[in-house]
Point group: C2
Chain length 369, copies 2
């Protein structure tokens, strides 16, 4: 195989597929990027068997062929080359020479035939949303997937399509995050669980443009994202997701409207009093159009007053401050509405249209304090 | 004690003294910042017993007093407050309340009397150089102090004043770095060894302005830097420094002139072939106005040609690439001159005026390869 490409084209291709390179594996081939120049175009592929990414790279094929190169060293070499044309050529013994200007670096490749190609996905009916929207959907829900694998389903997000709405849901047993958008075309019904890791990685390679579209296709076991010169294929998580609607409610006894930044900054300060691993709750004491935010720990105490618009009853309720912070951080609005029922029922942060809903379980602060 | 200050004044003060807060200590008082408002000005002090920093903070004293606050939490609290006036007040039981706008954070302080004040340094004859120059002197030599403490003297830098020149020297057994500047005023003779840690920390708080001066004073056991509202006092390392001049030589059989960036980029690429902890040398093969740079390791090989101006004999010589990189990185000139004697003698990278000299010992590449 012999190809020539601009350094920057190579780098873009490497950075795109790098997200699917396996970092801890006993199979060295999974730590590689496959360079496939066996047909008329140059394609880079990485595949950790859960997630696979393939992207086209601009360049010239001088001699057709394929080779797999260890991703880390290949990436480092290309990054450190001068900004110029790079030639990559592989001998029959897989020795691969990377040349640019006066420099020539040689590393051993691996047989491209050993590489696991991406599963073939039939692109039938799909949905199309902007990269910006997909990135936003992920950012605004991904924080509440479960971190440990003990419940596999909680490590993914529900993508639920119902005619012309797409609802994305994540939950970890203490909180639920929901984002809802309208689709341009009606689709039918579909419920799938996408691994959190897939969403985190794809989020990193989306440009985030509002005009750049992503097409999304589904099969029984896979989801495929297609955009620009790239396709991302991921396995799905099997099973029926939690019945989230049963946990939601629009009833409330207390509703407050509060400046988001003020509340976020306040709770952020409160966390200074919480040592890593400590589970001190933050106490919200709501009455008469102001909210007292309070925390007491071994380190010290914080006490702060925030102006609010109050509708309904006074309430005193405790929360894990991190959960409030996580939700407030991803909400783009200047003010937020928070709904409470009683000190033992979850609170809801949501907008009127329910384009977002964050449910957070309270902490029994009488026990905890 | 009760004081009020702008948040940003507090933050500036904290950031300045923070560099002398002890991070690993069994004495909790050393992890504190002392707030001293016992006289007519507010002073922050930190002191890890090797290095002490004291700085004046703008503000108003409402009630005189002193208190020591745990530096980490004090710094975090101030950083997260709104940009506004902050009031700090300490009760008799040392409970300290930090208030700003609607927030009130309370932490326990420690008795300021337990704090170790900085040693008193008589400011007699001193030298005065710009912050820019001091920062540069440190940056251009600090990388070649020894990292481990087995030879205490090697962990410091020699500051050698000889009438109107200041020479700063560091060495670690494999290389020597020397920077020389002229002083505006003649001083006499002085040789002291300043701990590397002191120089690293002071470098971080110098603004680096060419017009902002630092005054430097010496006593038997201490060095004192004074600039703006801040003084930094450090213990010196005892002993007679290595006799560096014996190791220097102006003889050479080969002299090359080379573009610094080209050489640096080339060696940087070569290090891709060196695994952490591996000691593969880089081989320079100089002949006929070009230099072949070569490295071979388990990972692969690199081979590159660089244009040079050659004066004298051909030579083939091996080096630890890191040592070449460290020196080249801190040289500001576009081209550098490198002098060689033979493959077993050190090379010298220096300018005509010898304002900098970097001596690097070669590696026996026949054994190593």
């Amino acid at each position: 195989m012999k190809i020539t490409c601009e350094k920057n084209s190579l780098l873009k291709g490497i950075n795109t597929v790098m997200k699917a390179v396996s970092s801890k594996t006993t199979m060295p081939i999974l730590e590689c990027i496959l360079i496939d120049a066996s047909a008329d175009e140059i394609k880079f592929t990485a595949n950790d068997m859960e997630l696979g990414i393939e992207t086209k790279v601009e360049g010239t094929i001088l001699e057709k062929g394929i080779v797999a190169l260890e991703a880390r060293i290949f990436s480092d070499i290309i990054r450190k080359l001068p900004d110029n044309i790079v030639s990559i050529s592989t001998e029959n013994n897989l020795q691969t020479s990377i040349k640019c200007e006066n420099t020539d670096l040689t590393i051993m490749g691996r047989d491209g035939e050993d590489f696991s190609y991406l599963p073939f996905i039939e692109r039938e009916e799909g949905i199309s949303i902007s990269q910006f929207t997909l990135k936003d959907l992920i950012r605004q829900t991904i924080f509440s997937i479960a971190q440990n694998e003990s419940n596999k389903m909680m490590t993914g997000e529900l993508f639920e399509i119902n005619n012309d709405t797409l609802r994305v849901v994540s939950l970890d047993g203490h909180r639920i995050s929901i984002r809802k958008i309208e689709l341009k075309k009606s689709f039918g019904e579909k419920k799938i669980i996408v691994p959190g890791k897939t969403l985190i990685e794809i989020s990193k390679i989306l440009t985030g443009g509002t005009e750049d579209m992503v097409d999304i296709y589904f099969t029984e076991n896979h989801i495929l994202f297609e955009f620009e010169q790239t396709i991302v294929v991921s396995r799905l998580i099997e099973g029926n997701y939690f019945r989230v609607d049963q946990m939601l409610s629009n009833d409330y006894n207390t509703k407050i409207k509060v400046n988001k930044k003020n509340l976020l900054d306040c709770i952020d300060r409160a966390t200074l009093m919480v040592k890593e691993g400590d589970k001190k709750p933050i106490i919200l004491n709501i009455s008469e159009n102001r909210m007292e935010v309070k925390i007491t720990s071994q380190i010290g105490t914080m006490n702060e007053f925030i102006d609010i618009d109050l509708e309904g009853n006074d309430i005193k309720i405790g929360f894990n401050p991190k959960f409030l912070i996580d939700a407030l951080r991803v909400i783009d609005e200047e003010t937020v509405d928070i709904y409470f029922m009683n000190p033992k029922a979850p609170c809801f942060i949501r907008d009127e249209q329910e384009s977002y809903i964050y449910l957070i379980l309270p902490v029994n602060f009488l026990d905890a304090a």
